[in-house]
Symmetry: C2
Subunit: 148 residues, 2 copies
Amino acid sequence: MNGHESEDLADQLHSAALHLLRQLRKEDDASGLSAPRLSALSVVVFGGPLTLGELARAEQVRPPTMTRIVTGLEKDGLIKRKGDPRDRRLTHIEATPKGHKVLAAGRARRVEKLASAVGKLERKELAELRRGVQLVREVVASMRGKPA
Amino acid sequence: MNGHESEDLADQLHSAALHLLRQLRKEDDASGLSAPRLSALSVVVFGGPLTLGELARAEQVRPPTMTRIVTGLEKDGLIKRKGDPRDRRLTHIEATPKGHKVLAAGRARRVEKLASAVGKLERKELAELRRGVQLVREVVASMRGKPA
DNA sequence: GGGAGATCGTTAGCACGGCTAACAATGTCT
DNA sequence: AGACATTGTTAGCCGTGCTAACGATCTCCC
């Protein structure tokens, strides 16, 4: 087994993700949204209305955590809670127009940042990066599958 | 400009990093160390003794934050503070034998996890992933260069 | 119908990590 | 010696993650 290679790769992946998020966080601060809130908002905007529990599972956090994230987003007027008439335990969550707008703005900001950071990358490298991201997604999915 | 591509890539990179870290955090929990602590310990172990300020810069956090991380690591007996006789403002930080051991163990654990997650990846994909990680590192470095 | 149990979301309370502001201690430089 | 800079710490705020416990609601089965 190529233990050494995997070992290095694990560490570098870990480190790269950590530092990338620290950088992106700074940028996303401009929208007044933390990474978890932005991520959750994104899911709500693109994933249509969904319940709090579904959102928690999608974001891989526990319900109490999602309750607070949602509360924060609602306080900012970015999303809205809606009760379900058929099952009154459920809370459906949907994005407000402002939510759509803020997400788009943050997206634009991040793109601008990434664009400058990616400026020196050749078209070919862009494709390689995209491929790498895809592989990371697969790895994460694989990890989720077999817990520990 | 290929705005659409960059936009998607930015989001996916963001999301992938976020979810990857959430998964790795669970694994690293087994060592009783959070991601920031583990990362800092790693720098100390491989980067030799260095001052708290240097460590803070390396980890891209503010000194007060690093003070607490270091305090936690010291309480666990993984690192040791050492005063500088020549400049008594400085605090040198070095890993204890236990620190080396714990880091190695966590590393092994993570490798095991990654190995299973990567099991379905072909050798070629491994190389692609490595390439992707390298590009992420460059992007992060580029971001650091031009702040905002 | 009615009670047992499952499910959903919330609240309470803990630990941690990020920040700024303010401070003491120390070093440096004029 | 005195003014200034640098280093690390403390205090205090906010956000994120968790578990435990709870109320409300739904379901299922007798």
